[in-house]
């Protein structure tokens, strides 16, 4: 089956991002396809590379990056939600006149149309949120 994944909550604050990761990983391990993982609301914070959790805790951001690399996942962060919350890639930082960017490896920033498209193209869109 082809899944689309929507992550609506931030890392560490809410279990949703852990559950989304575990679901995605399990789906892949069982031979399913992940069409796209879309990060919205505070979920965009799953994609900042400046995250530094304590050493004895899971690294939620790196975990997505590694899973993405292993399975060639399309990890998409919503641009409007990201701009509100201070998440920028190199292009956006330049465009907005900011002195830095913070997007993590393997993530890309794009529009909400990517979420709708995931709903259309996937057999199931699974929402992880509050």
């Amino acid at each position: 089956m082809k899944f689309g994944i929507l992550v609506n909550e931030g890392p560490y604050q809410h279990q949703s991002s852990d559950s989304a990761y575990m679901f995605t990983k399990a789906a892949l391990e069982n031979g399913h396809e992940i069409y796209r993982v879309f990060f919205y609301h505070d979920g965009v914070n799953n994609g900042t590379r400046l995250t530094v959790p304590p050493q004895d805790d899971r690294h939620i951001v790196n975990r997505w990056t590694e899973l993405g690399k292993e399975h060639n996942l399309d990890l998409v962060v919503c641009i409007a939600a990201a701009q509100r919350r201070g998440l920028l890639d190199e292009n956006e930082a330049k465009r907005q006149g900011k002195d830095a960017n913070n997007i993590a490896e393997g993530f890309r920033i794009s529009g909400l149309g990517q979420l709708i498209e995931a709903g259309i193209q996937s057999d199931r869109l699974v929402v992880f949120g509050d």
Partner: protein
């Protein structure tokens, strides 16, 4: 953009409009999604019914009153709006407390019609069952 596929999308709004950003960002998804020409319904349940309350004022909280944007839904051809009756009842609200959201019916000489249907939970459950994609905010 994807051609030739029409799916039934339902957006479920469950949160009050200003306590969290879910309502505002959900409305943004509905408006963007309208460009994809899918079969779109929007439901308001639990505290989500407050999103459609008329005469909203945000003067005291320093936030933008985005409620007028719901009036644009009709122009975006989002015309199937469902409000859970029990959620209204539980909060002492009636249909008269909601904004008058309308659309122009192309098939009926552009007559102005209400987009809002007040439904009970059984009807909502049936509506959800019919969907291909349910986005819950």
């Amino acid at each position: 953009m994807t051609e030739n596929v029409t799916k039934k999308f339902l957006y479920v709004n469950r949160k009050a409009p200003y306590g969290t950003i879910y309502a505002l960002e959900s409305l943004e998804v509905v408006l963007i999604g309208a460009a994809f020409e899918q079969d779109v319904s929007v439901a308001f349940i639990d505290d989500g019914v407050y999103q459609l309350k008329k005469d909203q004022s945000t003067d005291g909280i320093g936030m933008k009153n985005f409620s007028p944007t719901y009036n644009a839904l009709g122009d975006y051809e989002v015309t199937q709006i469902y409000v859970d009756k029990e959620s209204l009842d539980e909060r002492g609200l009636t249909a008269d407390d909601l904004m008058n959201l309308v659309y122009e019916d192309e098939d009926d000489d552009y007559a102005e019609k209400s987009s809002i249907s007040i439904v009970n939970r059984d009807e909502l459950a049936k509506l959800m069952e019919q969907q291909d994609v349910v986005l819950s905010f």
